[in-house]
């Protein structure tokens, strides 16, 4: 059994498991941090961005100044942003039988895999994962396609040139494989290959392997997967949460008795407590708005935003913010808010009971009804006429490289009254802000990552007791920035096996058993063909030595054996003692039987009748296996 590791990003994994002649891809996350190296795509012409100086080498050579621009000491690629794909060369991806998706964040590379590698298999995911995943892809495609950029930079990717660039560009990996965003057509085609599954549904793959999604508690429809045969079990844990937010709680019990547990998608901010962060988020938001400033929250259109809106719903009246408008701007804002209300079966118990009343499970329905929350597909159109300040704007993309958020950064960045609050943990906020420097607006970093932290992981591992743990290498050492924090790593026995991008791991697995079914009665022995000619020669037929005779066990009590011999008409029996046992002599038949604890040896003349008689007598005292 082998694990091919196609992604080095611990929270956006892409691994391929070969198990019992099936090839199973576990997630296909898309590393979007590569976009941080690019200049933002403004919705409206930004004089600041277009007037940034070109970057030149130390010796003054400026041949790259069309491709690279400099902003406050950082260098950015002036081109359509590109994404870092999972490894496509390590394994022939057309041999992948199935792709298992664990949550909507971990499927963003799906179109690249299903549309361009000769993939012909099936993708399995839950319904909320597919619906919200579609929204995320739609938003991404929309953000990038609505601001077409003529320029496409490729010169800088040349290995010899990349060496000369300042970091982080110099250190960017696999730049030659970076790709532009897919199209909506590719998204639709990729999504059409998905088969919907429910939690605890057992899916048979070719009768060899069974896969089952389990609730992972992290997002709507998010799942961990069990991949098992009748005697082996691999658990794939990806993006799980033990906190009570909106999704159904994590199913831990079903992960027990795994031979191997692949652990990915832990919290990216292990030192931050999500509850504390939400509190800080609310108080900073209130403070800014009270001072007449605007609040910008760069976010994804689904996920934590539901929890934030719920917190604000409880908070705004007590904080005296009832007159402050909340805007949610995304091409999929409406869909996201609507979809969140119809997945009752995938929600936590409290929200489920609300649906039974029947009431919408999320209070943002009420925020919309009372006009406190308004949503728009983009800042063009209705929004511009409704727009009132001070206000709070939720919009994407959290990388600050594309989407409506770019406009608000340009618009509000110059005033220290305004605040941008980062809640999504996927991007370093300092890097995200780099192309907007110098910036007057306040920046608050409240990353809310509800995924498992290391304390929860060690508790989980103690409880489910996997024989082996496999995880990305980042989890086997403390984070580089906090190298003294030995508690911020996975601690288990035996030590976790770690992987990095483009590595192949042989999993410590010994298959011992396979399932078969036996019939209550043995089938009739295949009868020999009995043609007349054949029968005559039957004695000449060479016997098939492949017919297995049973093994024997036990020992032969001499006295009883002799009695049995006598009973069967043997006379003149003499017994001699030897060092290891006895010798029984049948003088009349010129036969000698050596009997020892673990062996019996019959030495006789070539008399088949006699031999068989003696054999049957011996066998009576032995057990057959």
């Amino acid at each position: 059994m082998k694990l091919y590791c196609l992604s080095g990003h611990p929270t956006l994994p892409c691994n391929v498991l070969k198990f019992k002649s099936t090839t199973i891809m576990l997630d296909c996350g898309l590393d979007m941090t590569s976009t941080l190296n690019f200049l933002p795509l403004p919705l409206v012409q930004s004089p600041r961005l277009s007037n940034l100086p070109g970057w030149s080498l130390k010796d003054g050579n400026a041949f790259l100044d069309k491709e690279l621009k400099e902003c406050s000491g950082h260098v950015f690629v002036d081109s359509v942003p590109e994404f870092c794909l999972p490894e496509t060369e390590l394994i022939d991806l057309s041999t992948v039988d199935v792709i298992l998706i664990s949550n909507y964040h971990c499927m963003m590379a799906l179109p690249y895999i299903t549309e361009h590698t000769g993939f012909t298999g099936t993708v399995y995911a839950t319904e909320p994962t597919v619906q919200i995943g579609r929204l995320l892809m739609e938003e991404l495609v929309n953000f990038i396609e609505r601001v077409p950029k003529a320029q496409s930079a490729s010169l800088w990717k040349n290995k010899d040139i990349q060496r000369l660039l300042p970091s982080p560009l110099k250190d960017a990996v696999e730049v030659s494989t970076w790709r532009r965003c897919y199209t909506m057509q590719e998204v639709n085609s990729a999504l059409s290959k998905i088969q919907l599954v429910g939690y605890s549904q057992k899916i048979e793959l070719f009768g060899a392997v069974q896969v089952t999604p389990l609730s992972s508690g992290y997002a709507l429809g998010s799942s961990n997967w069990i991949i098992q045969s009748h005697y082996e079990k691999v658990s794939y844990v990806s993006g799980s949460s033990l906190l009570t937010t909106h999704p159904q709680p994590m199913d831990q019990a079903s992960l027990k008795n795994s031979d191997v547990l692949v652990l990915t998608g832990l919290t990216q901010i292990p030192t931050a407590n999500p509850d504390g962060m939400v509190g800080e988020f609310c108080s900073n938001l209130a403070l800014t708005v009270r001072n007449g400033g605007n609040v910008l929250v760069p976010c994804y259109p689904s996920g934590v935003i539901y929890d934030l809106l719920e917190c604000l719903y409880q908070y705004i009246d007590s904080a005296g913010l009832s007159n402050i408008p909340f805007y949610f701007i995304s091409p999929v804002a409406n869909s996201s808010l609507e979809f969140s209300q119809i997945f009752a079966e995938w929600l936590c118990h409290n929200k489920q009971t609300k649906v039974y009343l029947p009431e919408p499970p999320f209070p943002h329905a009420e925020l919309i009804q009372t006009n406190k929350l308004k949503h728009y597909p983009s800042l063009h159109g209705d929004f511009s006429s409704d727009f009132r300040q001070p206000c709070v704007v939720f919009t994407g993309h959290p990388s600050l490289r594309f989407g409506d958020v770019v406009h608000f950064m340009e618009l509000w960045g110059k005033s220290s009254l305004n605040t941008v609050i980062f809640t999504e943990p996927d991007f370093s906020y300092l890097e995200a802000l780099a192309p907007y420097q110098p910036l007057a607006m306040k920046c608050i970093y409240c990353p809310i990552d509800t995924r498992l932290n290391f304390i929860q992981v060690s508790k989980l591992l103690k409880e489910v007791q996997p024989l082996h743990v496999v995880c990305p290498e980042q989890y086997t050492q403390p984070p580089p920035a906090q190298s003294h924090r030995m508690d911020l790593m996975i601690d288990c026995q035996p030590p976790a096996m770690s992987y990095r991008r483009a590595e192949v791991l042989a999993l410590p697995f010994k298959r011992r058993y396979e399932k078969i079914e036996i019939m209550p009665e043995p089938p009739p022995r295949p009868t020999q063909p009995t043609g007349g000619k054949k029968r005559k020669r039957a004695s000449d037929d060479i016997p098939d030595c492949k017919v297995l005779k049973p093994l024997l066990s036990g020992s032969i009590p001499v006295e009883q054996f002799v009695q049995a011999l006598e009973k069967h008409g043997f006379s003149d029996i003499k017994v001699e003692d030897t060092a290891k046992g006895h010798i029984v002599l049948l003088q009349e038949a010129e036969t000698l039987i050596q009997i020892e604890e673990d062996s019996t040896h019959i030495i006789c003349d070539n008399d088949e009748m006699l031999r068989v008689r003696l054999r049957d007598l011996v066998l009576k005292f032995l057990q057959k296996f």
């Binding site: 009752a344 089938p523 093994l551 040896h601 030495i603």
Partner: protein, 572 residues
């Protein structure tokens, strides 16, 4: 002999009071717990004393499954769990769990408040009963205990209706509940995979009818409504608040929109409005089209259809009203049953002049649909419930002819017993399996095959291992049984030469076997050892000692008889 036993307590050759007991693999499951619309006495509920006369039902039933929220499938549930006494799990889908208590409460109100029945279940009992419910997802495999598992499939029919597969080991039963094989305007079609159950228990409401196309019925209905409205008349459509009401609402709404009609449409029970909310929140259970478009427009938010208020009753002009289902004893029921003169309160006699029309929109599978489902699931046998005996008889014949499977239709209280031949799953050690595979022939999953090994049964764990491994695991030593036979040969030559002759002879005869001449002068055939020795008395005779173990017996005894015939003279 293992068997599956099925006993309907209700719905056996009858429609209503669905309640079927199934015993499978030592587990007892109750399917549905319905009431009968046609009775007001004890017969309205299933006779649970059949399960046990004294003692808790919990001890006799492993679980209860409710297929959907219609009262003829769940109406007796609070009586069963709270008044008779059952504390085990009750499984149903989420929408059923949401809507079921509302219908039960409604039913209770009519029975107690309107009809004044005593000794009926209370509101608290409904609540307590619902606490025992475990909600299931579609296709989720629910492990009731270590051996019993159930799985829900989409059934169409009404919101949240499901078919259930009940499985113990390799034996399984599928219960369809009520289902619809053709998608309608708000629900999808029932679907099941080729799960090959031992028994399929299917409803057979429309066992003999093949209904005309749905479009014709819809067109007919709309035409009649339209004509009445055009005449300036009022249309009353008594329809059950959940399910068909939504179907007709969507139908009327789209028609009104297309024809640009202005006449108001009202639904009169509060229940329908609430019901629409459920449909909005459980949109994932509706059909493809509604699910796809719900963000742009939720089909259950009606523009033309409004809640009815008593004050509208005397409004002039045309209107369409959808009052709730007409329960027995109501004016509506009397009119529907054809009464043309009504005696109102205060002895006033009213003549009925309105036209009364019947139209069937119920969402059950017709004969074609039932056959289709049987074809999909490929059961070993079929059992019919929820239908009239006469019609069942017809369908039974048809199923037996077309699918060549036995078909049953027990009456209430009658037990059907099906013998099953369960397979015995065992774990075979990979070593043994590989040894088998090495002998050529890959195992064919569909054909039995003979192989030798030792079956070790520990706890409930069956393992098939090689004999060697079994001896080792059990800590037993192997007992070697060896034979040595003396074969006398007439040969004056030296022993070495005799051995050489034996070798070349055997080599030429036993082409398939490995024959070797060892340096010490002995000859081996596979693991059989042949040594030549001089005869103690007769120098012209040599003695061949042929030695083999019990495991090589066939070959050993074959060799001795071969050698006994002597060696060919021509040998050099």
């Amino acid at each position: 002999m293992p068997e599956i036993r099925v006993t309907p307590l209700g719905a056996g050759q009858d429609v209503g009071r669905s309640c079927i007991l199934v015993s499978i693999g030592g587990k007892n499951v109750m399917l549905d717990c319905g009431m009968h619309m046609g009775f007001n006495d004890d017969r309205r509920f299933p006779d649970f004393s059949y399960i046990t006369r004294n003692g808790r039902l919990t001890d006799f039933l492993d679980c209860v499954i409710i297929s959907h929220f219609h009262l003829d499938h769940c109406g007796a549930l609070p009586y069963f769990s709270e008044m008779v006494g059952y504390d085990g799990p009750i499984y149903m889908t989420h929408p059923t769990q949401a809507i079921c208590p509302i219908l039960l409460e409604d039913y209770r109100k009519i029975a107690v408040d309107k009809k004044g029945e005593a000794n009926f279940f209370t509101s608290q009992m409904i609540k307590d009963c619902m606490k025992k419910v475990v909600a299931v997802h579609l296709h989720q495999t629910v492990q009731v205990d270590d051996e019993l598992e159930i799985k829900a499939y989409y059934a169409g029919h009404v919101l949240g209706a499901a078919m259930f597969q009940i499985k113990v080991g390799s034996e399984s039963v599928v219960y369809t509940g009520d289902y619809n094989m053709t998608p309608d305007r708000h629900l999808g079609a029932a679907w099941i995979d080729k799960c090959r159950p031992n028994l399929l228990i299917t409803e057979s409401t429309y066992a003999t009818t093949i209904r005309d196309s749905k479009r014709c019925r819809e067109r007919d209905f709309l035409k009649k409504v339209h004509e009445a409205v055009e005449r300036g008349g009022k249309v009353l459509i008594p329809v059950f608040a959940l399910g068909r009401a939504q179907e007709l609402c969507i139908l009327l709404e789209t028609f009104w929109e297309r024809m640009n009609l202005k006449a108001p449409i009202y639904f009169s029970t509060g229940l329908t409005e609430k019901a629409n909310h459920y449909y909005k929140l459980f949109i994932t259970w509706t059909n493809q089209k509604i699910r796809k478009t719900f963000v742009q427009r939720n089909m259950f938010e009606f523009k033309h259809i409004k809640a009815f208020d008593r004050a509208f009753a005397d409004n002039p002009g045309p209107m369409v009203i959808m009052p709730g289902y007409c329960v027995q004893g109501t004016v509506g029921h009397k009119i529907l049953s054809g009464q043309r003169k009504l005696e109102m309160e205060g002895r006033q006699v009213l003549e009925v002049k309105m036209q009364v029309e019947y139209m069937s929109f119920s969402a059950h599978a017709d004969a074609k649909g039932i056959m289709q489902l049987v074809g999909q699931a490929e059961p070993e046998s079929v059992l019919l419930v929820h239908g009239e005996a006469k019609k069942m008889e017809f369908l039974k014949q048809k199923i037996e002819q077309e699918f060549r499977v036995s078909c049953y239709m027990p009456a209430n209280g009658e037990t059907v017993t099906l013998p099953t031949s369960p397979s015995i799953p065992v774990g075979i050690s990979l070593g043994l399996l590989k040894r088998e595979m090495a002998q050529g022939l890959l195992p064919d999953a569909k054909k039995p095959r003979l192989l030798h090994g030792t079956l070790i049964m520990k706890d409930s764990n069956f393992r098939l291992v090689s004999s060697e491994q079994a001896l080792k695991e059990l800590g037993l030593a192997e007992h070697q049984l060896r034979f040595t036979c003396r074969v006398h040969l007439h040969d004056p030559r030296k022993e070495q030469e005799t051995a050489m002759r034996v070798y070349s002879h055997l080599k030429s005869v036993l082409k398939e076997h490995c024959v070797q001449h060892l340096p010490d002068g002995s000859v081996t055939v596979e693991s059989i050892l042949i040594q030549a020795a001089a005869h103690s008395e007769d120098p012209g005779t040599k003695v061949l000692l042929v030695s083999w173990t019990y495991q090589d017996e066939e070959l050993g005894s074959h060799l001795t008889s071969l050698l006994k015939k002597g060696l060919p003279q021509a040998a050099s």
